[in-house]
């Protein structure tokens, strides 16, 4: 496995393969996620993004922020579009027309992953294509104006699940995309956060060293949709991790491991409070929602810990 240094003093000497001049909002988490992931990879990368914020802001008109080969074809098919590229790579390698080593990475939003892109993603995972699929999860369809997605957290007010007087925001839970991916029995699945950059980059580095399909779900703060502050992408993702809203773990060859355990598990309200999309949860009449949110998180966290303990004990 590649073990080139992930120390910042070494990373600063690397070319960042995403150029400035991209049109993401100031302080966008997606840019940070892509930057960290690319820094963690040494090989040439061929990338693909579905329609969404990252795509429309990095490749527009005659201008591209990508310094690597990159393709966008539509919204629901990033995994299979890149699998097509990867298959052509194998075909041309077999026929002696390409010799260079390279790695294939999808950078897709949660809508393009959890929802409309799930079928093609599942097919790619099942067929075992050699690529890494990174979902930058900002928990809504941001590019089209913050509509709810299958990744939108319980309680969040979005433009299609607004907190009104009759319905207090999104009442359904998030899909557990990491478990869905793990159920494909692929060699590597993980969840990461830009607040824990070393953990994130180690996961990406490990993923690209493994052949076959890999999936990493990465929290990607969007202060526009989350209605928080432009400077809080890192602070808020740290709160997501330390409240266990966003547990950091990996599943390697079926074996689950928590890669970070918060020293002190904070109440989820600490993560929700700075975000306007959850403001209504702090009204007295919605106290039950806050309690529900906490219960869900406690249950997921307990389940993850139990799984890890069970696997560690040899089961």
């Amino acid at each position: 496995m590649t073990t080139s240094s992930l120390k910042l003093k070494d990373l600063v000497n690397k070319d960042i393969r995403l150029a400035p001049g991209h049109r993401m909002c100031q302080g966008c988490g997606a840019a940070i996620v892509v930057k960290m992931a690319l820094l963690a990879i040494d090989k040439p990368v061929v990338a693909c993004s579905p329609t969404g914020c990252l795509e429309v802001t990095t490749c527009i008109s005659d201008s591209t922020a990508w310094k690597i080969p990159w393709i966008h074809s539509a919204f629901e098919n990033a995994a299979v579009t890149l699998a097509g590229v990867e298959t052509m790579y194998r075909a041309l390698k077999k026929r002696g027309k390409i010799s260079q080593d390279m790695t294939f990475v999808v950078f897709a939003g949660d809508g393009g992953t959890y929802d409309i892109g799930l079928q093609s993603l599942s097919g790619v995972m099942e067929r075992g294509h050699d690529l890494l699929y990174i979902c930058y999860d900002n928990g809504a369809y941001m590019n089209t104006g913050t509509q709810r997605s299958g990744a939108t957290p319980f309680g969040a007010s979005t433009t299609t699940s607004p907190a009104g007087s009759a319905v207090p925001g999104k009442l359904q839970l998030r899909k557990d995309i990491v478990k869905i991916m793990a159920a494909h029995n692929i060699p590597y699945v993980a969840q990461a956060s830009p607040s824990h950059h070393l953990d994130l980059m180690r996961k990406v580095q490990k993923a690209v060293s493994i052949s076959g399909p890999k999936f990493i779900n990465i929290l990607s703060p969007c202060h526009r949709g989350w209605r928080s502050k432009a400077d809080d992408a890192i602070t808020i993702s740290k709160l997501a991790v330390n409240t266990c809203f966003w547990p950091l773990y990996e599943i390697e060859n079926g074996k689950m491991k928590l890669t970070h355990v918060p020293k002190e598990k904070l109440p989820v309200a600490d993560f929700l409070k700075p975000q306007g999309r959850f403001a209504h949860l702090f009204r007295p009449d919605n106290a039950w929602m806050l309690e529900d949110a906490q219960r869900q998180i406690d249950a997921e966290w307990a389940a993850l810990q139990a799984t890890q303990a069970c696997e560690a004990s040899g089961n």
Binding site: V12, A31, M36, W66, D231, D232
Partner: protein, 98 residues
């Protein structure tokens, strides 16, 4: 990079100048500006890592300031800067609007 004239021979939505977005100066979007105080810098390089716009300039492992051509003024670098002895090395100030 010029906006190309779309003809029979150029009508393919493919861009062959990697990273040419750099001609687009997003610094113009900024209303707040980061200011660097080298004396308080511990060279942790977190600001370089976190900046979504590749606008933190580092030479020989040392933070040296900002590329204001692209810095959108989000303030992440300032918020996350650990600085030295309780003093941050980055602060955000209002951009002068002439």
């Amino acid at each position: 990079m010029k906006t190309r004239i779309i003809t029979k021979s150029t009508c393919k939505p493919v861009i062959s100048e990697p990273g040419n977005s750099a001609v687009y100066k997003t610094g113009a979007w900024r209303s707040l500006k980061p200011v660097f105080e080298a004396a308080h810098c511990s060279s942790c390089l977190l600001c370089w890592l976190y900046c979504p716009d590749m606008s933190v300039i580092v030479h020989d492992g040392k933070m040296e300031g900002f590329d204001l051509d692209y810095c959108k003024g989000c303030g992440i670098c300032a918020l996350e800067c650990p600085g030295k002895k309780g003093e941050k090395a980055i602060t955000m100030v209002k951009e002068d609007i002439l």
